[in-house]
């Protein structure tokens, strides 16, 4: 299959068969990030409302307000960072990335380790704080890398979802290729 821009994209090849990799662009990443942010905030809001309702039943001294705020912010930061670190280091895909069918992989193409995911999460904060300027390199880089990718040495690649039949077909093709005798040198 050829994309609108002429980039060759093979949607039918499973991961075990070498196929051209397509890197995720700025808009695709932004949409995935918005979905993730919505999910993170939705869960955080539900938990905050539940905690507030439970807290309303008890009488707390007024000087504890600051402590509650600090605890809330800490929990929010931990939840947000944990969300990305866990998803990147396990499946390589956050729910938003899954919807957009993209995946974060290491520069060698393998899965990310938790430490690298942590570095990438810090990179995301650093790239987002100065009005998202850290994502501008995506427009110029040949592999569409942003600041978090440079810091953690990662890539964001297209990861089309394959049906069971496609996976099976790909495995059979790979097995067939592996069983073929190597070509004799000329």
């Amino acid at each position: 299959m050829t994309s609108a821009t002429g980039a060759v994209v093979d949607n039918e090849s499973p991961p075990d068969v070498a196929a051209p990799t397509r890197y995720a662009g700025l808009v695709t990443r932004a949409v995935a990030f918005v979905i993730d942010a919505a999910l993170i905030d939705l869960v955080a809001t539900i938990v905050a409302v539940a905690a507030a309702l439970v807290g309303a039943l008890f009488h707390f001294p007024k000087n504890l307000h600051t402590l509650w705020i600090v605890l809330g912010v800490t929990a929010y930061v931990l939840w947000s960072a944990g969300y990305f670190i866990v998803f990147w280091s396990t499946t390589g895909q956050t729910p938003g990335a899954r919807v957009m069918q993209i995946r974060v992989v290491s520069s060698s193409g393998g899965p990310l380790r938790p430490f690298r995911s942590l570095v990438r999460a810090i990179g995301v904060v650093l790239a987002t704080l100065p009005l998202c300027l850290g994502y501008v390199p995506v427009l110029f880089d040949g592999r569409r890398r942003a600041l978090p990718d440079y810091l953690a040495r990662t890539l964001v690649v297209s990861a089309p979802q394959l049906s069971l039949a496609q996976v099976q077909r790909g495995r059979m093709r790979a097995r067939k290729l592996a069983s073929q005798p190597p070509a004799k040198p000329a």
Binding site: G6, G25, L26, T28, V99, M100, F140, R143, R144
Partner: protein, 160 residues
Amino acid sequence: MLASLGSRTASATLRPLRGAADAAAWVGTNLEQRALDRLLEGKELERVLDSPRVHAVITRVLNSPGAARAIDELFDSGLIDRLFDRLLTTDALWHLVDVIAGSPAVTAAISQQGLGFADQVGEQVRTRSTQADDWLERAVARVLHPRLTTAPAQANSDTP
């Protein structure tokens, strides 16, 4: 007295005949068994079944209106209904249903059916965003390098 004498005489007369009949039956059974054994052990049966004539006969029988009539009669007889009624009472069938329902292919098909609308929306968003990615990069490339009009996305895919 006289009747019993007659019966005994008849029995004694018929005894050799009965023995001969039994022997003939035994020989017949034995011959039939040997013929069947030979047929099953030998390759004649395979040869007969593989022959194109037998295939032609089978095809003709299956395509004949008589075969269709026989199937209709089979269904009309209620035998199939009875078969299914019986099948529904067996544990093996429900075990089979459980196995099929839990198979990855079926669960994937069900979840795919449930996510049909979300999938359609997602597909649209993905297509549009990919186009927007390429358009944005082309626009930036055009601004930065007005002389180069080729798509920069050509470089954004490679073989790992």
